[in-house]
């Protein structure tokens, strides 16, 4: 293991990408991802890795360039945020359908309009159905580790799917944190060079992204769905491997002081750290409250979630996005739907909060736990939002 350093998380994400020895980065700068783009440019221009840095004119082109490069067998990375991710939207399901293992860092930021550059999850949630593996990091160390893991997972022959790693904008990208980087030797041992199942080369002609008529399109969709569900096995296996080599373990669903809790708070991303302090405060007062962190969003880790919430009476879902005119936040809605048939399932309280960079403090979590106690039904509710 390399030495411990203090580093901005956006810069650290790019350093982790460099350790993975990528071949191509195609990036269009957007706040709060810009430092990731700039630092990658520095690394490549300084000759620290032998890679192409493509200064594309938009995110639509950055993800398309990544698709092209990945199809030739290259190891490819891009990073974006908010409007950039929305602009990529058209290409995302094409990348997953072609089974191209592109890795993307997404500095989560609210989506326009109105224009807002601060953190929430309204950018990633509309991409939910794109067929990408979708993960959330809670802190800088997880960003470093999960970036490296992502290449191994995405390129694994049993997976071959693109991955988006969510890194909360500003709240995480712009923090300076103490981080441990693995050495290049250690990463090389963990992550061998990409061995594509199929790649474009004149010596071995293939066609990719072919037109699908009605008699085959549905089978292609089913195959993608199956591939995404099946990827969980490999994700868990690779996370175990990582734990063995580096001593830090990763699971699809993680818990904090959840044992014996009658109330559980569920978070995704950087919010988990604040929520864990709230859990400590509440436990001090004798309340049986714990925390569940959803690291993996796609494929959805249903079995792991069931195990994590077993025995709890109230599950409070913290949703940082909203499905307008629908049943609530995307996470709360989905969990309600998945647990619908479970006997003795907990009451699910879905709060929409922390939109557009609105702070959610320790006291806010405590207040939401209090509010959840009083709440009679399971309809979603905005927390801390003025009428």
């Amino acid at each position: 293991m390399g030495k411990r350093v203090g580093m901005e998380v956006a810069i650290a994400a790019s350093e982790a990408v460099a350790l993975c020895n990528i071949d191509v980065a195609a990036v269009y700068p957007i706040t709060p991802q810009s430092h990731m783009a700039e630092h990658l440019a520095d690394i490549i221009h300084d000759g620290r890795i032998d890679a192409e840095f493509i200064t594309v004119e938009s995110e639509h082109s950055s993800i398309s360039a990544c698709a092209g490069a990945s199809a030739t067998g290259a190891r490819v990375y891009t990073a974006t945020s908010s409007q950039g991710l929305m602009y990529m939207h058209e290409i995302l399901p094409i990348v997953s359908a072609m089974r191209l293992p592109v890795v993307m860092g997404n500095a989560n930021r609210a989506v326009s309009g109105p224009l807002n550059i601060w953190n929430d999850h309204t950018d990633i949630m509309p991409q939910r159905d794109s067929g990408w593996i979708c993960m959330f990091a809670e802190n800088g160390q997880e960003v470093v580790d999960m970036t490296i893991q992502s290449f191994k997972i995405a390129e694994h022959p049993d997976v071959m799917l693109p991955i988006v790693l969510n890194i909360d904008g500003f709240q995480l990208t712009h923090m300076i944190e103490p981080l441990e980087f693995p050495t290049q030797k250690e990463v090389n041992k963990f992550l061998p060079p990409r061995k594509p199942f199929a790649s474009l080369h004149p010596d071995n002609p293939i066609s990719m992204g072919c037109f699908n008529t009605p008699d085959i399109y549905a089978e292609t969709m089913k195959a993608k769905d199956t591939a995404l569900h099946n990827s969980k096995k490999t994700i868990v296996k690779i996370w175990k491997e990582w734990g063995k080599q580096f001593g830090r373990t990763y699971k699809p669903v993680e818990t904090y002081r959840a044992k014996g809790a009658d109330t559980l708070i569920l978070t995704m991303g950087s919010m988990g750290e604040t929520a864990s302090i709230a859990v400590d405060e509440l436990r001090k007062k004798g309340a049986a409250v714990g925390l569940v962190r959803l690291r993996l969003w796609r494929p959805f880790p249903l079995d792991e979630l069931r195990a994590a919430i077993k025995g709890c009476k109230t599950l409070i879902v913290m949703d940082r996005a909203i499905s307008f005119g629908g049943a609530g936040g995307p996470v709360g809605t989905e969990i309600k739907s998945l647990l619908y048939h479970d006997k003795g399932r907990p009451r699910i309280v879905d709060f929409i909060m922390g939109l557009g960079g609105r702070d959610v403090t320790v006291n806010d979590f405590i207040a939401m736990v209090e509010r959840a106690k009083k709440k009679k039904d399971e309809t979603y509710e905005y927390y801390g939002v003025r009428e």
């Binding site: 440019a41 520095d42 309009g113």
Partner: protein, 248 residues
């Protein structure tokens, strides 16, 4: 004492957030002065970009509609088609107009939409922190081209004014600058001409403004003004590029 100078009525009592020496403030003021002078404040509608000028609606005391990044000309087209009697202008930087919004700009120009584009060219992506733009000069260092723009990797500076001038739909395109008093006066004249053409239903007009960005160029404001004349103008020569009514 006779009052000889004042704030244009088309500007609000708000303090510009722009960096010291930035060309946006000057250009904002020129647009407001022209709107006042032409008496078109009640019919002028502006479209600010994504970029440093995203908050332009905090400064102009006219109707404004924020367009998504790069979509200024498409939004302007929709507005002008439904409100042909209004003066519609988009205000766009080089990232907005020449990178992510190239297609919208090109096709609005090609259709000859009767709109005016104020194009701020500062040779970098300003707001996101000085990354390479399509307009970045060869050899110019930016945060995504640290050793300087390299034509082999990054291509050449895109001259949008010359490219758009080739389209039959464009009627008046002039490249100006706001780095010296003389250039500022010329820019003011160009903006007025473009707005007048639009009022006269002539068609698509654009004023490109070479605009100093001392912060991202890492220069003093004075050096940045000099750099426009001494370096930037060699790649982006100021002048009338197309004028179907005049000589250009």
């Amino acid at each position: 004492m006779k009052k000889v100078f004042g704030k244009p009525e088309s500007l609000k009592d708000a303090i510009f957030h722009y960096c010291a020496g930035c060309g946006h403030s000057i250009t904002h003021r020129l647009i407001a002065e022209v709107i006042d002078e032409m008496g078109i404040r009640d019919i002028a509608i502006g479209i600010p970009p994504a970029g440093c000028a995203v908050l332009a609606y905090n400064y102009f005391d006219i109707d404004m509609l924020e367009a998504p990044h790069g979509r200024g000309c498409a939004v302007a087209t929709g507005m002008k088609r439904t409100l042909p009697d209004k003066l519609i202008f988009s205000y766009q930087g080089d990232g907005d107009l020449a990178a992510i919004g190239t297609a919208e700009t090109f096709h609005a120009a090609n259709r000859g939409e009767n709109i005016t584009v104020i194009f701020i060219n500062n040779a970098v992506y300003g707001m996101t922190g000085g990354q390479m733009a399509p307009t970045t000069l060869l050899g110019q260092a930016s945060t995504t081209s640290p050793p300087g723009r390299n034509a082999i990797l990054d291509g050449y500076p895109v001259r949008m004014s010359e490219i758009l001038a080739l389209l039959e739909g464009t009627k008046y395109i002039e490249r100006c600058a706001v780095n010296t008093p003389a250039n500022i006066i010329r820019t003011r004249r160009a903006i007025k001409k473009a707005f007048q053409y639009q009022m006269d239903d002539v068609g698509f007009t654009m004023v490109e403004v070479l605009s100093q960005c001392p912060t991202n160029w890492k220069m003093t404001p004075i050096d940045a003004c000099k750099w426009i004349d001494e370096v930037m103008a060699l790649s982006f020569p100021p002048g009338v590029i197309k004028d179907i009514k005049g000589k250009g």
